[in-house]
Symmetry: C2
Subunit: 695 residues, 2 copies
């Protein structure tokens, strides 16, 4: 289903007429606030519906929706839960496009049926539902404020580059208000409450197509429709709209609290994290993170590189910012020698390397700060600049001239990205921001924000995600495949496996081994025996025919003894693989996002440290390489203390093949584990594999 | 040397008389600001020294220090570098107690000699030096402001519970100013610049003994005198003064920048981190961290437990705070059933578990919020509470009644620690803070701050660090000990080693093996051969006399071939130890902090993931257990996937013994590596050891 963004914006954010069922004459009540706010600026007709009054807040009131003479695009329902269904029925009958339900008492208190009935009424009529249990929305440019958040008592928002999309109404208005206090205009806020119909994903998707929106701040407790959520993120990425998301329920404690709070299906958190990385969205860990993204994205400049130039009037703060750069994967390369020489000539008191310490002396001669900035921007080769000027930049006498000096540089380098770490009153901060600078108090947060902009830049530069899902050759049978069958399937999918033979008995095993050359490995083959090692079903490093014959008999008798009812297909005979770096690869079917591929270092890395990473399938080679780059223990692949390393390219290719296999079998594959996948200096091989078909 | 805190405070912060060499008539110049600021409130005499003027800023000027009739306690030197030495000489002659040198042009530009000369003059006269290259200090209660920070133009500080001690002047005044903007009073600021004499450690130590100081915020690029720094932190801990430290140069980039910036000896960063943990100081990663500690420590309440109660009017924010609690090692236990029942009865609309979602409805009946808080404080068993009330708590109509309702609870539970996550104007925030609450905007930062308070509480509750350094039995010889000698030394120090015999030849090795029982291990013994395995100098798992004899001959001949000049003592014969969990233990002599003990999981954990932790020696069993608890891979000790675990108690005892050995040999031990130290289900044993004597 293709998402129709213009239609969504028209129906949900920008209707031409507005009615309120349960409109209150008291502008401080839940049914009164939206009317009081909206009537201030809304261009279209507003119809209060209240059968007990002639007028509501001075507007003529209607006894019912049906009594309203003209068409009504959008209806706000602010009546007790018991009367909501009737109101929704009226909306459907009236041909309303969207109804917003403030009322609580539905899925969030366990009444799924009542909520489902609303949808049953709305869907056939083409009526969208926002909520129930929802705090509402606003569209500042449209003058439309159907929300009861009290933060609007302190002035209606005038719009701006920030779009807020939140499941939680209280948290949504919290961050919208914080943005406004920080001077970041919020153009639209959408809170989705119980998400019976309209979801956070749709809100993101709509704003991704909106020119006025410069960044999207979102909050989710869980995502129900994984593909729609991914499409929304992908639309934002392709339209160069940064998305920052607070997804709560990260911890076990948090997840328990989330489950008791809303009727949400929370996908496994590591998978959610992977989805955000795959689509280039920023995962906020704190509320400050969200606000910082709003601040940093105002210039809409997204560098693809990570070379940071640091200007400071305090050597100490310079070191602090260099530390922060290292924390966030930013490079702090020195100025080129020629630029250093030029800087030393112009500012003899400065340390001209990087960090460039211009000292507080520079404030005695402000044109020098322009000289410095011009040199760094013109010759430094930096992707972004952070400058620590502390409270000096906010002083009444210096702030104007400093801003002008810096703004001159920015005019000559319009694509330059400059963050200032300063302390200044809000009006002075606003002046710097209007001139194109990003302003933070905390120097570490400034650096973190620049790093996030480079993350966005890199993600925006990547090609569209592949939509090409390969067709499966054959459907997988339900249940467990034998190791031999699993490897055959994976081999057909392009994963490297060793040549191996299935031998029904000891004699055949010896014959197969003679053909391969020694040493060999023997393993029992049975779909019913998944823990082969534990029952003595594996023999390694067999050096001659006699050893193979003895081992074969032993394995078969032990297997029959341990699993008398198992169908034993025989013995797998394979060459003994040389040692290498053991990886664990796998596929799991996420209930929300479908098949995801896992990659980790084997053994304790995966088990103790959970040093594994995920991606939704399918993906390309570059994405596979990014996955590998996320493993904390990846240095093992380079070889440690004389041990051989592992072939990253072979690993990446295996991951891509596995991801295409996963996508092709989205319907009929439950899980796949390749453990170990052994990497050598050149190449790699799946030594063991378990595949479980769905159904 | 015992640190004399009252004397330091008198000499440095609270002199009775004050002279300024280089005093300027212009109150905006570096030599003019300190005079302008200090004369506003300072009770004692102030003497401008300026040979070219009759008066300075209206005060009678003196041509030289010697011309001043009475005694002078404190002298500020604000003259070019070339004239500083002369000024210090004048101070020494006048009997001044402390001189503060603003001037730059000393160690920070490489002129160590000039800086050393100042000390040579000052020391014999008992004159302390602050600086050079220093921005100065202030003591608000004493009305003493010898600093040129322009932030004081916006009003002199009125004092408060925060003490700021910073090497960097610009950063020091940055955070002092941020504290003031945040409404946190700063009682004292000390910046130390080049630290020719007075150090950050002394500043911390002095404030640790000051009743008015409630928390100490410090910044350091490096620490020169490790023991003095540790004594300062320990004094703060024993006096229940929280210390938060920003130590820059964490990263390699940062460390390089630090080295080019000041003449500091930066200790290895991981060691610095360990020292802070050992003394219960908080390591700030960002400037916000520092300010947050100032905000959180105002009530001076430090719980020893980590049970967090969460109150919220938004379910989503509740989950968010539960996530943050998990991030910071806080527990979020449910309310006891009786308290849940009582709460459900009183607030039927609330979710009464934990997080307790009181919903925005509670604002319709504020006494209920008191009921809720009383139940959580009285019956919840929580160590601290965080409450998310967003902008509702800041609204003009609600803020007063809400504060009164909450303050009633606090009066009944004066030891309760309650943090509010709210959005409110500064004056309203100040009201909540005066009533005893901790106030943050960001709910995650509120939780992080409460966790830090619990960290402080746990550290404050620990006994004083042991000062009992054991005497060494014998001095270690310089250079490498043989493995046999190293193990004998460690065994004498109380570390478990296997019984082993030194055999000069194959015959003796067989005799020793027969006495021990098979299997055994053989290793070549030579102080000159440290990489035994690489030259074939080790044989494992020898099962009988014949195997031992063959292996012994082979090892000796390979060792002689590889190291013809080595003195070979013979062969070490030892029982073959069973497999277990391999740890790596060690001692290194830190140039700043002396002997430190390392503990890590062996192999790739230590090498690839740097999953190791340090402590300065000596330390006790509880500290050793905390060390082990810091290892990310510690789950290996509990056994992973059927593998045997390791005996934590035996490991902790070994670490304590190693720490006492390290302390006893602080002078004559360079390094010690025990790799591996193998842990079994019960007990552990050092299987290999390298000791390098100092000198």
């Amino acid at each position: 289903m293709t998402f129709d963004a213009p239609r969504f914006i028209r129906d949900v954010f920008q209707p031409e007429s507005f009615a309120i069922i349960g409109a209150s004459d008291d502008p401080t009540r839940i049914g009164g606030r939206p009317l009081a706010y909206t009537r201030e600026r809304f261009a279209g007709p507003i119809y209060p519906v209240n059968p007990t009054r002639e007028t509501v807040q001075g507007l003529p009131a209607y006894a019912s929706l049906a009594d309203i003479p003209g068409p009504v695009d959008f209806v706000l329902i602010a009546v007790p839960a018991a009367r909501v269904e009737h109101a929704v029925r009226d909306c459907a009958a009236k041909g309303v496009r969207c109804c917003l339900i403030f009322s609580s008492g539905f899925a969030e208190v366990g009444d799924m049926a009542a909520q489902a009935r609303l949808l049953d009424i709305a869907r056939p009529a083409g009526l969208r539902i926002l909520g129930p249990n929802c705090l509402g929305l606003f569209d500042a440019a449209h003058g439309f404020f159907p929300t009861f958040t009290a933060t609007l008592d302190r002035g209606l928002p005038d719009g701006g580059h920030v779009g807020v999309v939140c499941q939680s109404g209280a948290y949504g208005s919290h961050i919208a208000y914080l943005n406004r206090l920080r001077g970041m205009g919020v153009g639209r806020m959408l809170t989705t409450g119980n998400e019976s119909d309209i979801s956070v994903a749709e809100g993101i998707h709509a704003l991704a197509h909106d020119e006025a929106t410069g960044c999207i701040l979102a909050y989710a407790e869980g995502v129900r429709d994984g593909p729609a959520f991914r499409e929304a993120l992908e639309a934002a990425r392709q339209n160069r709209k940064p998305v920052a998301i607070m997804k709560v329920g990260r911890s076990e404690i948090g997840a328990a609290a989330a489950a008791s709070h809303t009727a949400s299906l929370a996908g496994e958190d590591a998978v959610f994290d992977a989805i955000l990385r795959q689509h280039g969205a920023f995962r906020a860990r704190t509320t400050d993170d969200l606000i910082d993204i709003a601040v940093a994205t105002r210039p809409r400049i997204y560098p693809t590189g990570r070379r940071l130039g640091i200007v400071t009037i305090s050597g100490g703060a310079g070191v602090l910012m260099a530390d922060a750069a290292a924390d966030h994967g930013m490079a702090v390369p020195p100025m080129p020698q020629a630029a250093q020489d030029a800087l030393r000539a112009a500012l003899p008191f400065a340390t001209p390397v990087n960090p460039v310490d211009v000292t507080a002396q520079v404030f005695n001669d402000l044109p020098l700060i322009r000289t410095n900035m011009d040199l760094m921007l013109g010759q430094g080769g930096y992707d972004s600049i952070v400058a620590f000027f502390t409270s000096l930049a906010g002083s009444p006498s210096l702030s104007g001239p400093l801003r002008d000096a810096l703004a001159g540089s920015l005019q000559d380098h319009p694509e330059a990205l400059i963050a200032l770490s300063i302390i200044a009153p809000p009006a002075v901060v606003a002046d710097y921001e209007s001139a194109g600078f990003i302003v933070f108090e905390d120097p570490s947060r400034a650096v973190a924000a620049l790093a996030a902009l480079s993350d966005f830049g890199a993600a925006f530069a990547r090609p569209p995600l592949t939509a090409d899902v390969p067709a499966a050759a054959d459907r997988l049978p339900p249940g467990a495949l034998s190791e031999h069958a699993a490897k055959a399937v994976l081999s057909a999918a392009g994963l490297p496996v060793l040549p191996e033979a299935l031998a029904p008995d000891a004699t055949a095993a010896v014959a197969a081994a003679e053909g391969m050359g020694y040493p060999v490995v023997l393993k029992v083959v049975s779909a019913q025996i998944t823990h082969k090692t534990e029952i003595g079903g594996v023999a390694l490093n067999l050096g001659d025919a006699e050893a193979v014959a003895m081992a074969a008999d032993g394995i078969l008798s032990r297997a029959r003894a341990a699993h008398p009812d198992a169908d034993i297909d025989g013995l797998l005979v394979a060459p003994m693989a040389p040692a290498g770096v053991e990886m664990i690869l796998g596929i799991q079917r996420d209930p929300v996002f479908g098949p995801v591929v896992m990659c980790g270092l084997g053994g304790i890395f995966a088990e103790v440290l959970r040093d594994v990473t995920f991606r939704a399938a399918p993906f390309d080679l570059a994405e596979a390489q990014r996955m590998i780059g996320e493993l904390k223990g990846q240095a093992v692949l380079d070889g440690v203390r004389g041990r051989p390393g592992g072939d990253r390219a072979a690993l990446a290719q295996a991951l891509v093949a596995l991801s295409r296999f996963a996508a092709a079998h989205a319907e009929d594959l439950e899980t796949c584990d390749i453990n170990p996948f052994v990497l050598h200096d050149s190449g790699g091989v799946a030594l063991d594999a378990v595949i479980l078909g769905a159904g």
